[in-house]
């Protein structure tokens, strides 16, 4: 391999784009084969691809590779070879072949599909690999005698696609049969509907009324009856089940009137066919079931790659490194016992509450507690589970089992066992309830008039059932399912993923918005670094970067990250020393370089009151050159989004687990200082939301990202998790939104409100059809042909109206 590491300083203006991952090269640039690479990892992947002759990868359109996991180390996946683990992870074994179905969160473009399906080129022991892109899964069949499971995981990690294996997976495999069952039902209902309609055709046009055709009519009637049975018994099963469980709970849900209508149509048809008095309305019955099933399929479209119900279990790693007699053993996390010594590397998670054995650790608790800056812990101090080590590897002694640690206690709160969805209260359910009552009254009155006043029992029965038939709430159901389906897909297109239609409806009732700070309105990994002081020469910048890169302190890392265009000097550094809480000191030749606090370098710290940024002073040979002001970066457009929310009358709050920061900026954004709440623990966040709901009768939208918000997200009316990568872990919530879309929050709320209006409007339209139908039904004049025409026409109108209206609303809302 002839690659040469560029030692020459790069021009600041010229940006190098990594050939592999397509990101701008920061920190270092590796040049090889006329291509630039941003890090060793990207170059390694390129090298592996080249060796296997798979460079065509880069010519696939839009190909951007993935930089492999920097925290990878040999033996990371060893625990997969343990029989009790592999047994749960393997989907299928038939000696010597085995199959796994792994979730690969980093899969993102068509070249990923291409590369993952070429796995056999890297190792012939892989028999086949098939990608399912929407689910971000790859199903690999491999020869267990030639490659171990851990080696397979290491192989795909090497080319950048680490599999996501969580504790949840160890709980057992869930097979998604649900989707297939729905397709069977739709298929069967469609088949029966089509055939019944064909057999009913002669009736529509009053053909075959002559005596000789009587036999044919009877046959057709019975055939229709037989064809309608699977629809009623199998396809409509879900409606019956849901209506029955609602009735047992003593309330009427949206399915109850549907079931009533279906049963009465079937009863009437059965009577007409058996008594040979008419053809029945089985075409309408099966058609209604078929269209309702398609509508639900459309509405319940799932986002395969997103999981909404993750709990702390999926946040923890599956395997941890335990030191036993000096050697490192990978052990499943469930077998971790108090007294074990664990080894935690850079960026790894602390698996359980433990005591630090190493001299020092920097723990990043941002995800768990909301504190933006990593905290330092000394030997002998207690470390709670959930934090991430930044810097060198540390050793810890486990105090408590994973299931008993501090972090998992949050999940014992009542908020987590409470179901938020109350189907009883959705808009369509509310309208439907009063609608069903009215229809029942009309039908009964009609029946009574025909029976007692007009003395015509037969017409009375027919009028009664046909009333239920035409007023069938199918139209109402379609209005909500198709509108919700459209709104959901419009949300999805704009990178906000609601869990279900109910979450969108609850979003439309929101009047208070509560934001978390760290990770939600700030971006934790990006900081604005500015040097204040004398202009630094390139040489000085090189020195500073070289020194800072020696330290694992988070502030040093931010400085290194900011000096991307500078190359690290190869000259050796001497007498490196780091004093905790102060800074670092290094000798480079004869120069003494100090980085750190004002006292450390001997500068006067003038305005300490300035909370908004952390400062790192620089001194070379006792001369203070200035300081780096490092300030957390807020998401752009955030102030606009929040002021837009306030303009529309929403109350906004900031609820942070961090210490107070930027009060001037934030109080300007949030209106006044009273709405800024800092230093809130996870359970205090939950209480705050509860208080808003109970004492102030607010409908609260909580926007958060970390485990510290999990309680508040559950307690709120709508919990929205913000994530820069939707495949990443996010706590259980109702919606997941991409970080970049946060500024569009007012638009999303508006769209949800528009959706509710569209549902109401299309209810009105279907009501017109219902009244028209009722008019004929009360008169006892509803003919099968009229029923057969009325139903599809009303359906098509509603579907067309809801689709057009929601598209139009979305275009109007997202345009500005």
């Amino acid at each position: 391999m002839n690659f040469l590491k560029e030692e020459r300083k790069q021009e600041t203006a010229a940006k190098h784009i990594c050939y592999h991952c397509g990101e701008e090269c920061r920190e270092e640039i590796i040049l090889a084969d006329e291509h630039a690479f941003c890090c060793k990892g990207c170059f390694n992947v390129y090298d592996i691809l080249k060796e296997s002759d798979l460079c065509a990868y880069y010519s696939v359109e839009g190909a951007t590779g993935i930089s492999p996991d920097k925290a990878y180390f040999n033996g990371k996946y060893d625990y997969l070879d343990l029989p009790e683990v592999s047994e749960k992870i393997l989907e299928f074994t038939n000696h010597p072949l085995s199959r796994v179905n792994w979730h690969i969160p980093k899969m993102h473009c068509s070249s990923c599909i291409w590369l993952l399906e070429q796995l056999y080129k890297f190792n012939p022991a892989v028999r086949s690999s098939v990608v399912n892109f929407p689910e971000k899964k790859v199903r690999i069949t491999f020869d267990t005698e030639k490659i171990r499971l851990s080696e397979l995981a290491a192989l795909i990690s090497q080319i950048g696609y680490e599999p996501y294996i969580s504790l949840n997976d160890l709980g057992g495999q869930q097979i998604k049969n649900w989707n297939r069952t729905r397709l069977y039902k739709i298929g069967i209902a469609g088949f029966c509907f089509g055939n019944i309609m064909m057999l009913s055709f002669p009736e529509y046009f009053h053909l075959g009324n002559s005596g000789s055709d009587q036999n044919l009519r009877v046959t057709f009637g019975f055939l229709n009856l037989v064809l309608s049975l699977p629809v009623l018994l199998y396809c409509a099963g879900d409606f019956f089940r849901s209506a029955w469980s609602a009735l047992k709970g003593k309330y009427l849900n949206i399915d109850a009137p549907i079931v009533l209508a279906l049963l009465s149509i079937f009863g009437l048809s059965l009577y007409q066919i058996l008594s040979e008095t008419g053809p029945g309305y089985l075409d309408s019955l099966t058609g209604a079931v078929f269209f309702m099933l398609t509508g639900r399929f459309f509405q319940d479209k799932t986002y395969d790659s997103i999981s909404f119900d993750r709990d702390y279990k999926s946040y923890f790693p599956v395997g941890v490194s335990v030191l036993k007699g000096g050697t490192e053993v990978r052990t499943p996390i469930t077998e971790l016992a108090p007294g074990d010594t664990v080894l935690v590397r850079n960026a790894e998670l602390i698996p359980a509450d433990a005591v630090l054995l190493s001299p020092e650790a920097w723990i990043d608790y941002s995800f768990v507690s909301g504190e933006a800056e990593p905290v330092s812990r000394k030997k002998g101090e207690m470390i709670y589970a959930g934090g991430k080590q930044t810097g060198t590897a540390i050793q810890l002694e486990v105090l408590r089992k994973v299931s008993q640690s501090y972090l998992t206690q949050l999940w014992n709160n009542d908020a987590f066992s409470r179901e938020k969805e109350n189907q009883n209260n959705t808009l369509s359910a509310r309208i439907n309830r009063s609608f069903s009552v009215i229809v029942l009254i009309i039908a009964t009155v009609t029946f009574l008039i025909w029976y007692f006043v007009k003395n015509d029992p037969e017409t009375a029965f027919r009028a009664f059932t046909t009333c239920l038939l035409v007023a069938c709430p199918c139209g109402l159901l379609f209005s909500s399912t198709f509108t919700n389906g459209n709104i959901l897909s419009l949300f999805g297109i704009n990178r906000c993923y609601p869990k279900n239609a109910d979450a969108v409806e609850r979003l439309s009732h929101i009047d208070t918005v509560v934001f978390d700070k760290t990770g939600t309105i700030t971006r934790s990994e990006e900081a604005d670094v500015q040097f204040v002081g004398k202009e630094l020469s390139d040489d000085e910048l090189i020195i500073i970067k070289t020194v800072a890169s020696q330290s694992s302190h988070p502030l040093s890392r931010m400085i290194v990250g900011n000096l991307a265009h500078i190359q690290i000097s190869r000259r050796s550094l001497e007498n490196y020393s780091e004093v905790r809480g102060a800074g670092i000191q290094v000798l480079r030749g004869k120069q003494e370089i100090r980085l750190g606090s004002a006292e450390w370098v001997g500068a006067s710290s003038e305005n300490n009151a300035d909370y908004s940024s952390s400062k790192v002073y620089v001194a070379i040979d006792q001369v203070v050159l200035g300081f780096f002001a490092i300030r957390i970066q807020y998401r752009s457009n955030l102030p606009e989004a929040i002021s837009a929310l306030r303009k529309y009358g929403f109350q906004t709050f900031l609820l942070s687990g961090d210490k107070p920061a930027d009060p001037h900026f934030l109080s300007k954004v949030f209106g006044h200082e009273a709405s800024l709440l800092f230093n809130r623990k996870p359970d205090e966040k939950l209480e705050f939301i509860k208080n808003l709901q109970n004492s102030h009768h607010r409908n609260v939208l909580m926007i958060g990202d970390g485990l510290n918000d999990a309680g508040a997200l559950r307690q709120s009316n709508v919990g929205m998790a913000v994530s820069d990568d939707t495949a990443d872990f996010s706590p259980s919530c109702d919606m997941i939104m991409e970080g970049r879309q946060l500024s569009r929050l007012p638009a999303f709320i508006k769209l949800a409100k528009a959706g509710q209006k569209i549902i109401k409007a299309s209810f009105a339209i279907s009501l017109i059809y219902n009244i028209l139908g009722l008019f004929f039904a009360i008169g006892g004049k509803l003919s099968p042909v009229f029923a057969a025409i009325l139903m599809p026409v009303s359906l098509i109108t509603i579907v067309a109206f809801t689709t057009a209206a929601s598209k139009l609303a979305a275009r109007r809302i997202f345009r500005d």
């Binding site: 002759d53 798979l54 460079c55 065509a56 880069y58 010519s59 696939v60 068509s110 599909i113 291409w114 399906e117 070429q118 080129k121 990608v131 399912n132 892109f133 929407p134 689910e135 989707n179 297939r180 397709l183 069977y184 298929g187 069967i188 088949f191 089509g194 055939n195 064909m198 057999l199 000789s212 055709d213 036999n215 044919l216 046959t219 057709f220 055939l223």
Partner: protein, 56 residues
């Protein structure tokens, strides 16, 4: 008229055959992933010879 009975039975059988074909394909997983195959068909198989080393 008897021709009708034959026709009706035949047409039902043909339709049922299509229905069972649909059920079979769902069972075999043809509908599990409706996106990846559309991409896969557009991707070229890699040329195994070292002929196209520099393809960009």
């Amino acid at each position: 008229m008897s021709a009708f009975y034959v026709m009706i039975i035949t047409s039902l059988f043909i339709a049922a055959a299509f229905l069972s074909a649909f059920i079979w394909s769902v069972k075999k997983g043809h509908y599990d992933d409706d996106y990846t195959p559309s991409i896969r068909i557009l991707l070229d198989d890699p040329v195994s010879e070292k002929s196209n080393r520099k393809d960009k």
